[in-house]
């Protein structure tokens, strides 16, 4: 409806638009902004800029600087320059580092391949106005609304080795099975990933559902008139047409995977990285927060994560804009 209605009026505004840039050129250059305006502009641009510098760039640059030093975080005079030592140590002689990198990759792949498509699938199904759709929406989105404490609590109950739901069910089916879901280093990452997927699916579903609500049903009608089946309609018509939403979902998925921290921290007992559940973000806090902090070492780890994030985001942005230019 809306896009059909908006198509005709889209043309007229285009005509006067080029006229505007011409207008100032024709005039002599008067002071277009009064002093008040300029002050206003300075304030309105300057304050966010200052905030950005102070709260984002300064700490980022300070982290990069500190990553070349060794410091216990107490007396600034104790900061010692060590060059690339921290990085060398991390890459060659820090047992949890490579497992952490591996787990971050696993996290990204898992999230991108299972809960994200599943969330899209659910959204697509719920958009078909099936019965009780609002109930389903609420139920699936609920985990996202819950606070982290509650999510951790719920999964703690499910995974408890002695009286947890999961072992209870398994014991009913096959007695004698005693699986240590969160304690076994070969298993706990997957257990946490499932808990995380439980939250993530609802989030993706809501995002995609919002996109689908704004989708022009006429396109779907046209597709079905052309003889496309449900799958073809989705893959060839709906999915490509929802590109902005797809981009948001991709960004959300990548960001959530890289910053994965909270649920691992909670299910790991809130003490930092646990065997089998190491993640870069946890290693950073391991080294920076605590009684004897290694600010330089932790900063170097943070810089590694920063670079990985920038690479992921940069690649993605470059890809998107290249396609847009074509």
């Amino acid at each position: 409806m809306s896009s059909v209605g908006s198509a005709p009026p889209a043309a007229p505004p285009r005509a006067p638009a080029p006229a505007r840039p011409d207008a100032p050129r024709a005039r002599p250059r008067p002071l277009r902004l009064g002093r008040g305006d300029r002050l206003f502009l300075t304030v309105i641009v300057g304050i966010p800029l200052l905030a950005l510098l102070v709260f984002v760039w300064l700490p980022a640059l300070a982290s990069i600087g500190l990553s070349f030093t060794s410091w216990d975080g107490i007396e600034p005079s104790d900061i010692r320059w060590v060059g690339l030592d921290n990085y060398l140590e991390i890459f060659t002689n820090y047992p949890p580092f490579w497992p952490a990198v591996q787990h971050n990759v696993v996290w990204l792949l898992f999230t991108a391949l299972l809960p994200t498509p599943f969330g899209i699938f659910l959204a697509y199904q719920l958009d078909r106005k099936i019965r009780f759709t609002r109930f389903y929406q609420t139920a699936i989105f609920l985990p996202m609304v819950l606070s982290l404490a509650v999510v951790g609590f719920i999964w703690e109950i499910i995974y408890n080795p002695d009286n947890g739901l999961l072992n209870g069910v398994l014991n009913g089916a096959a007695p004698g099975h005693h699986i240590d879901w969160l304690g076994d280093p070969d298993l706990n990452l997957w257990a946490v990933l499932i808990a995380s997927a439980w939250r993530h699916t609802g989030y993706i579903m809501i995002l995609y559902l919002a996109g689908l609500k704004g989708f022009d049903p006429a396109l779907k009608e046209a597709a079905s008139l052309d003889g496309a089946n449900g799958r073809q309609t989705f893959l060839r018509v709906v999915f490509p047409a929802l590109k902005p939403v797809n981009i948001i979902i991709l960004v959300v998925t990548v960001m959530e995977s890289l910053r994965a921290f909270d649920i691992v921290y909670v299910l790991g007992g809130g003490v930092g990285s646990k065997p089998g559940m190491e993640l870069l973000s946890l290693l950073i806090t391991d080294n920076i927060i605590g009684e004897s902090s290694h600010i330089g070492y932790g900063s170097a780890l943070a810089v590694v994560l920063l670079i990985v994030s920038l690479l992921a985001i940069g690649t993605f942005l470059a890809q998107t804009f290249r396609k847009e230019d074509q």
Binding site: D72, G73, I74, E75, E89, N93, Y94, P95, P96, L148, A149, G152, F153, E156, I157, Y159, N160, P161, D162, H178, I179, D180, W181, L182, G183, D184, P185, N188, D262, Y265, V266, L267, G268, G269, G270, V271, G272, S273, K274, P275, G276, T285, D286, N287, I289, G290, E291, S292, S293, H294, Y297
Partner: protein, 437 residues
């Protein structure tokens, strides 16, 4: 991080605690520093008020500290403003906290952990306070309260021993005898397994991995002696030393007798399995008593000292972590803080504290031991008879080293205890990063 000193009110559902604790931890990661600083910094120095930073957030220690501070107020006319922070949050942010505007007096632990902050200049020496309170403490307690520079930095309040706990009725029913040597110990564990018990209750899941250090410390102390253990903890000898490998070998011998699924269980659940007679023994501290909800049960709990492994060292060392107080580097009310510390170092304060929290043993020699229960009496005897007293793995060592290198390594190894040399190599490779000075 370290909770061997946690004072827990009796709680029936430990898993819930673990979650909440974890959540607070997340908050700690982001908020601890500003939060603590904000609470600590009073607007201006009030000569009538002393600020007190407490990690006793659970109900039992909270009421015990309240009893102590209100008695002090009555005694001195000085008000105590207590700033209570969750135990883990407190420990995690201690470094930031002490650099900001900390409370005048704060709770802390004896050992390397105290000396570390003394060395960094984040605590103020207490020699004047000790001139007043010194006569009430044994030489061992005095030694525990000194920094590396020989000055006093710490006022002890209580300690509690680690040992092997069991239920008397289980031992009586099955005819078990408390073992004294390693071979008796392993034979008993074997027998328990045959009898369908989990021989050694074990839970080091979630944030409780510190609890395995008790077994590690004792194995190393019994096999290699106090001096080696302390050098190892202080980063002075290599972790790949033959003697450390022997400790792991002994541990591997014991591991088949550990309760299954330990990596996902809390220490409270493990303790509960001992109380429920599902496990036979538990290597744990006296704070096990906080898990008892039915007072009748308390009389059925007993312990024996960790068995002898090498006759040369016998059972001469007892692990007995000591908790107490320190003075921040720039107290706003120095005189008042000194008076508070003098009070905290008195027998009266210890009696008040122990009245509310009976699962510890007083350190002050004049403290009233008449109201001790049997476990407390036996604990006090055990500690008094020891030739050496150790604090705990992460108190005798650099806490960062223990929490980020040793603990994850040991916990992972304990899941699949094989040849420990790879693990020891890993730990050794990190040692120099923590012990450079």
């Amino acid at each position: 991080m370290t909770m061997q000193s946690r004072i827990l009110s009796p709680v029936t559902d430990p898993s819930r605690r673990t979650v909440v604790r974890g959540t607070l931890g997340v908050g700690a990661a982001a908020l601890a520093a500003p939060l603590l600083t904000a609470c600590g910094g009073g607007p201006s120095a009030d000569p009538k008020t002393v600020t007190f930073g407490s990690n006793g957030a659970d109900a039992t220690p909270k009421s015990a500290y309240a009893a102590v501070t209100s008695a002090f107020t009555k005694d001195s006319g000085l008000k105590v403003k207590t700033n209570t922070v969750d135990h883990d949050t407190f420990q995690k942010s201690i470094s930031t906290y002490l650099q900001g505007t900390p409370d005048d007096v704060f709770t802390w632990f004896a050992g390397y952990r105290m000396q570390y902050f003394a060395k960094k200049g984040l605590a103020r020496p207490l020699d004047d306070v000790w001139d007043t309170i010194g006569s009430g403490f044994s030489d061992a307690a005095k030694q525990l309260s000194k920094g590396e520079d020989g000055k006093y930095y710490f006022v002890p309040l209580y300690n509690y021993p680690w040992a092997v706990f069991y239920r008397k009725s289980v031992f009586k029913e099955r005819g078990y005898e408390p073992p004294r040597t390693w071979s008796e110990f392993t034979a008993l564990a074997k027998q328990m397994k045959k009898d369908g018990l989990s021989p050694i209750a074990s839970g080091y899941g979630g944030g409780d991995s510190w609890s395995i250090l008790g077994a590690f410390d004792y194995l190393n102390l019994r096999a290699n002696g106090y001096d080696f253990h302390m050098s190892l903890m202080r980063g002075e000898v290599s972790w790949t030393d033959r003697r450390t490998s022997r400790t792991l070998d002994l541990w591997r011998e014991l591991s088949p007798y550990y309760q299954q699924g330990a990596g996902g269980r809390s220490w409270q659940d493990a303790a509960q399995s001992l109380l429920d007679k599902k496990s036979g023994m538990a290597v744990i501290g006296l704070f096990l008593g906080q898990q008892i909800t039915d007072e009748k049960l308390r009389a059925d709990i007993d312990f024996f000292a960790f068995p002898e492994i090498d006759a040369a060292h016998g059972q001469d060392t007892v692990e007995a972590p000591t908790d107490g107080f320190m003075l921040s580097r720039k107290p706003k009310n120095e005189k008042g803080a000194a008076r508070l510390l003098e009070f905290l170092g008195s027998a009266q304060a210890e009696n008040l504290y122990m009245g509310a929290d009976p699962s510890n043993v007083a350190v002050h020699s004049a403290a009233d031991t008449g109201s001790y229960n049997a476990l407390q009496k036996k604990s006090a005897e055990l500690i008094a008879s020891a030739k050496h007293i150790t604090q705990f793995g992460d108190r005798d060592s650099d806490p960062g080293f223990v929490s980020t290198v040793v603990l994850p390594g040991l916990a992972q190894w304990l899941g699949h205890p094989d040849d420990g040399s790879a693990l020891l190599k890993k730990i050794e490779s990190q040692r120099s990063r923590f012990f450079t000075a």
